[in-house]
Subunit: 330 residues, 2 copies
């Protein structure tokens, strides 16, 4: 298993601070959402059924007729490499590490590269993996660039796989509206934007034949009944989505500004996280952890990812800790 | 995708009866449970973490120290065939069809057999699949028999895979307390006994090395946070479990008696379902469906599976329909 953010239990043990006392900034998940509708008891009691309104709501939300709900985009990340014979796979790196891990596990030939190399040497690859906007770098690739890559790959039976886990605040940059197209696979995460990471729900947008093969691998009833009910309601709540988008964009700006004000200018980010690339990443991580503030540390290059604080108390606590750090490390 | 029970939407379309008007007896899921505890909002909001108390509660409930929560035992059924090189696999049939389907899909050599053949020719197989008690036949194999088979298989690096989805009413017949042992894999379903099929939760009981490989295939966060919270509470509620067991055993008897009283003696069953093997299975299925009572029809041999009605109204409706059928088909 790879390392991930959100592991409060391990942090509590390591630093001797009770779980409830942490400010957890170690994930890129919205730290707030909005009131959840009641869940009908039948959603718990009965086997979930397809086309119960969830797919219809998702089709409208994503602007794409051909999609499949999955138990978190992670479930698709694990399964998609099984849908291709041994392929040459490029992944624009660094990015969410589970992609490369999954394709390597299934025996594909994997190469990490940057976007300039992807553009120049695309013809060497059968599959190109892109996280857009990228996690943790925040790098954004233009839809036009990606669509051109998609066309070049599709000509040879290849795939462009775009993980849009952090796209919900900037839907205008999504490729969702272009799906389905040959060779285009788009992953969307439900929990990050809606602040419901525990729900385990994501969507794969692709052509129907590919989705049919994916569904066969994932098996029946892969998404829970309550997840389907909640998501169906929230995907239809356009007013709630607009408020959430506004709040996250505002808080993303605020986090960027706070870090800059403390002399810790981010190297990139999205509304949901900011990234610092610094030689003292480990020291800053430990300094914050000693104060019960958990960030996500990356070893190569030494860097930290900060998620959003959930409330004013969290902002104040983070702000004070960053000021203290910058005083001690001028 | 294989055919399954619980597909009310399809039935509603086919028979022109609104979903809400059906008496759904097409699954073997408990049609009632008990009051669910409140779900902490963090269970929805945060990524689920391992060892949050769920594993500990499950270890006590199943009497086994080595287990892995999965998103329904179906998730394990899909993944387990990937943990072995091409094997000769025997499956005691007929049984839940997803087992054979999954092993075939992964390229194993599969043979359907009965339990006498399994006993006699076990040495021809690397893996033996047993659903115990069996669905849909209700056949039970003695723990001693299974443990002997396990030993014979394990000597050659083989597996005995026992799906105990319907074991919770008769825990004394479970192999759970024998796990972990080399070559023994036991699947337990959470939703059937607790009446929570929508929750998507099951457990795999096996040695730690096998569970580690399985977890790697399933990936992180495969079980939702709310499922973990609810199951943690219900697995600790021994009084609730005792009441549920008693109610299901009583209702299982009642269903058996009702069918016999109507001249439709079951060929077998468990507390959660009864099975009729009859040449007129299709006619009886259609007769009941026309009255909004959904049963599960199997083609080979022609047979029907009846789950439990949820309440007295359901019992009365089923009883009347069966009386009407036996009058028309004396």
């Amino acid at each position: 298993m790879l390392e991930h953010g959100g592991r409060l239990r391990a942090a509590a043990q390591r630093y001797g601070i009770a779980e409830a006392d942490w400010l957890d900034l170690s994930t890129g998940i919205a730290p707030y959402g909005w009131a959840l509708p009641a869940i009908p008891s039948a959603a718990w009691a009965r086997l979930p059924e397809r086309e119960d309104g969830l797919e219809a709501a998702a089709r409208r939300f994503y602007g794409c007729v051909s999609l499949l709900p999955v138990a978190g985009s992670q479930a698709a990340i694990q399964a998609l490499p099984r849908l291709r014979a041994r392929s040459r796979v490029g992944v624009i790196s660094p990015c969410y590490a589970e992609h490369a891990h999954a394709w390597r596990r299934e025996g594909h030939e994997l190469e990490e590269l940057d976007s300039a190399t992807a553009e120049r040497e695309l013809d060497r690859f059968d599959v190109l993996l892109v996280v857009n906007p990228n996690n943790p770098t925040g790098q954004r690739l233009a839809p036009e660039t990606l669509m051109e890559w998609r066309a070049r790959l599709a000509e040879r039976g290849g795939w462009l796989l775009v993980d849009e886990a952090f796209m919900d605040c900037t839907p205008q940059q999504s490729l969702a509206g272009h799906c389905p197209l040959p060779g285009l696979v788009v992953l969307r995460s439900f929990g990050k934007f809606f602040g419901l990471a525990g729900i385990r729900l994501g969507f794969v947008l692709a052509d129907a034949a590919l989705l049919g093969r994916l569904e066969e691998l994932l098996g029946p009833w892969s998404v829970s009944g309550p997840a389907r009910e909640l998501a169906k309601a929230l995907l239809q709540d356009e007013a709630g989505q607009a408020r959430q988008r506004q709040a996250l964009l505002r808080d993303g700006q605020r986090l960027d500004s706070l870090l800059r004000d403390c002399g810790l200018a981010p190297a990139g980010g999205t509304a949901l996280f900011q990234r610092l690339v610094r030689d003292d990443a480990v020291a800053l991580h430990e300094f914050l952890a000693a104060r019960g503030i958990l960030t996500r540390l990356f070893a190569t290059p030494p860097s930290l990812r900060f998620g959003l604080p959930p409330d004013e108390a969290g902002w104040a606590r983070l702000g004070q800790a960053l000021i203290d750090y910058s005083k001690e490390h001028p």
